[in-house]
């Protein structure tokens, strides 16, 4: 009897293209290596892409004690940090000054379907929810956020990843 072998996340690694999101082969290779190291990292690594300085600082304060947290203000930087750090969870604002959180979520999920992406936004617009769903993001959190909401997201990530 032939058994189907489930594809590994690595098999889905694709090379996205686009002006703001181009990557080099070296970056892709480094990312792959970082992702392998995820299993042995002592702390969860979290990326927060948020253009408002106050909310960036608040995210940092909320998470820095228990997690490795990196924050940045734009989608382009978020993409760079994503590739460099292979974070376990990425919290993305939607209204970013450059290409926007949906575009970044799309790129991240296209690049690594196993990525864990949560939209963190004040928007309740149906079209934003629909786009997030189309991008297959893992969570959609409405601002204002508080510790409980963040803990719930991280808890869901842990449950999902066993």
């Amino acid at each position: 009897m032939k058994h189907e072998v489930p594809p590994r996340a690595e098999d889905h690694l694709v090379m996205p293209s686009g002006d703001d999101f181009d990557i080099t082969l070296a970056q892709a290779a480094r990312y792959k290596k970082m992702r392998e190291q995820k299993r042995v990292r002592p702390k969860l690594h979290i990326l927060s892409v948020e253009d408002e300085p106050f909310l960036r600082k608040l995210m940092q304060e909320a998470l820095r004690e228990l997690y490795e947290i990196i924050t940045c203000p734009s989608a382009e930087e978020g993409w760079k940090f994503y590739l460099e750090g292979a974070p376990d969870i990425a919290f993305l604002d939607i209204g970013l000054p450059d290409s926007g959180g949906h575009e970044l979520a799309h790129r991240i999920k296209e690049f690594d379907p196993d990525a864990y992406v949560v939209m963190l936004t004040a928007s309740r617009r149906p079209e934003d929810i629909e786009r997030a769903r189309d991008n297959r993001v893992n969570g959609f959190v409405i601002k204002p956020f508080n510790r409980k909401k963040l803990d719930e997201c991280i808890g869901q990530y842990r449950v999902g990843r066993g």
Binding site: E52, P53, L58, E61, G95, P144
Partner: protein, 114 residues
């Protein structure tokens, strides 16, 4: 009159660390001053989208701080982004006045904390 800021949720994050709170308040005050300036420069016809986006950003930070009245005023400004200039000036005056109260409250809390 209602308190301009409810720090309950923020303090869950800061754990009452006054040094961290002071840093957060400083960032809030300076970025809000920029939001306010930007709203002022985007009152004119033809700048509706910039007005809406600034009001949206200001709303988000205000609500996350716990400045609920300010957040509500910004939400109103966001929703009425197509209002005539005179109405926008009125909304702006209300936001500016409430921001003054919030700022005073934050400055007082940090000076009391030493």
């Amino acid at each position: 009159m209602n308190m301009p800021v409810d720090l309950t949720f923020l303090r869950e994050i800061t754990g009452g660390d006054t040094g961290v709170e002071r840093e957060l308040f400083d960032v809030f005050i300076s970025s809000s001053a920029e939001n306010l300036e930007s709203l002022k420069t985007n009152c004119d016809p033809g700048k509706e989208n910039a007005w809406r986006s600034q009001a949206h950003a200001f709303k988000g930070t205000s609500l996350n701080l716990g400045a609920l009245i300010l957040g509500h005023l910004c939400k109103e400004a966001q929703e009425n982004y197509q209002a005539p200039m005179e109405k926008k000036r009125q909304m702006l005056a209300a936001i500016e006045s409430e921001f003054g109260r919030v700022k005073e409250f934050l400055e007082k809390s940090t000076s009391t904390a030493g």
